[in-house]
């Protein structure tokens, strides 16, 4: 399973995010609230749950974050849609790769619910903005969990 997303160009994704990170994070004024980075949440995901949590987070971004985000800057819109398309490609790649082996344990389901609960704490456009500003956490988590060397 670890090799499922190895074909995804993570560098391009990270580059797209880096180009809009400052804009997104500067507009996010709620420093005391986090959507993804309750680290006990993501860091504690076991290898067996990586597929489910990846899929759930891709769905979270596709169905909530990208939809709820209101953006005026064309530059930012262009990069967010590039990221959104990459996520769609990632989700398709994952589905083809795992053929229904994407088992969701209670922990994986709880982790996903926590993220949605965090999201619901904020007004929707603020929540979307914050989630976009935290994409680097999700991308780093994917990088670590999906492309580790075969030795691990």
């Amino acid at each position: 399973l670890r090799r499922c997303l190895v074909s995804v160009d993570m560098r391009l994704l990270e580059k797209s995010f880096q180009e809009i990170r400052r804009t997104l994070q500067t507009k996010d004024t709620f420093k005391n609230v986090t959507i993804l980075s309750t680290l006990e949440n993501l860091r504690s995901i076991k290898p067996v749950d990586v597929c489910c949590v990846t899929n759930n987070l891709l769905t979270f971004y596709r169905d909530r974050v990208f939809k709820d985000h209101q953006e005026t800057s064309l530059e930012v819109v262009r990069r967010i849609s590039r990221i959104a398309n990459s996520f769609l490609h990632m989700q398709k790649t994952l589905e083809q790769c795992v053929h229904r082996q994407c088992h969701c344990s209670q922990e994986a389901t709880n982790a996903t619910r926590t993220i949605h609960d965090n999201y619901n704490q904020l007004e929707v456009s603020s929540a979307a903005l914050k989630s976009l500003g935290e994409l680097n956490i999700f991308l780093a988590w994917i990088d670590r969990n999906h492309q580790e060397t075969s030795a691990t």
């Binding site: 990270e14 880096q18 400052r22 005391n32 609230v33 986090t34 309750t38 956490i137 780093a140 580790e148």
Partner: protein, 221 residues
């Protein structure tokens, strides 16, 4: 002493300089305050937590940097820092950093490199760089433990032919056995970790392969 009036200009260029998780906050003196005894106070914020915290070692300091490695040692969290200038009873507004994510932003120094040459070979032995330690006597932690897919970009420049050859490796030794004798080669090594591209910190050294050993035969007449 409460500050009567906060009209001083803010410190500028406030940023984290991070190498192997040693995270030092740097800033520049506020403009227009030459020849004035300015001191600074630093606070930091753990993203997702509740409030700003004082950097105990950096209250009313006159230098323009503050080592926040201890405060930001959980490198998977994200942080902000801010600094304000103080002069007598006057102070500035806070100058604040962007959100700082050590895991994705720290620069990784090059590995330790040992070169051994033969007539037609150079052997390159690499040792992963060490992560910043809270106390010198703490046992060392390799950056390989922080980044399991830490790689090394090794390039070799042949000063005679002008050609450069490079390879990305994960293991710790590399032997180049197809070289020319008595030739100067310049070796360059840098560490590569996943995530956004970071400022490279290359290691460089030039070394010459040995001369061909001509064996002398003694002929008995």
């Amino acid at each position: 002493v409460p500050y009567a009036f906060c009209g001083l200009p803010k410190p500028t260029n406030i940023t984290f300089l991070s190498i192997n998780m040693k995270n030092v906050l740097h800033w520049s003196r506020p403009e227009g305050l030459h020849g004035v005894e300015v001191t600074y106070t630093v606070q930091y914020f753990i993203y997702g937590q509740r409030k700003w915290l004082s950097a105990s070692k950096c209250t009313s300091i006159s230098r323009t940097y503050c080592d926040l490695s201890v405060e930001t040692s959980d490198y998977e969290r994200q942080f902000y820092a801010k600094v304000k200038a103080i002069w007598e009873t006057r102070c500035s507004e806070w100058a604040e950093t962007e959100r700082f994510y050590p895991f994705l932003e720290t620069q990784v120094s090059p590995p330790e490199v040992a070169l051994t040459t033969g007539e037609k070979s150079i052997s390159i032995a690499l040792t992963a760089p060490e992560k910043w330690k809270r106390n010198p006597q703490d046992s060392p932690v390799s950056m390989q433990q922080v980044y399991p897919n830490l790689k090394y970009n090794v390039s070799v420049y042949d000063t005679k032919s002008g050609r450069t050859w490079s390879q990305c490796i994960t293991n710790s030794t590399l032997v180049l056995s197809w070289l020319e004798p008595s030739t100067l080669y310049c070796v360059r090594v840098e560490s590569l970790v996943p995530g956004p591209t970071r400022l490279p910190l290359p290691w460089k050294q030039c070394i010459s392969t040995l001369e061909v050993q001509t064996s002398t035969w003694k002929v008995k007449v």
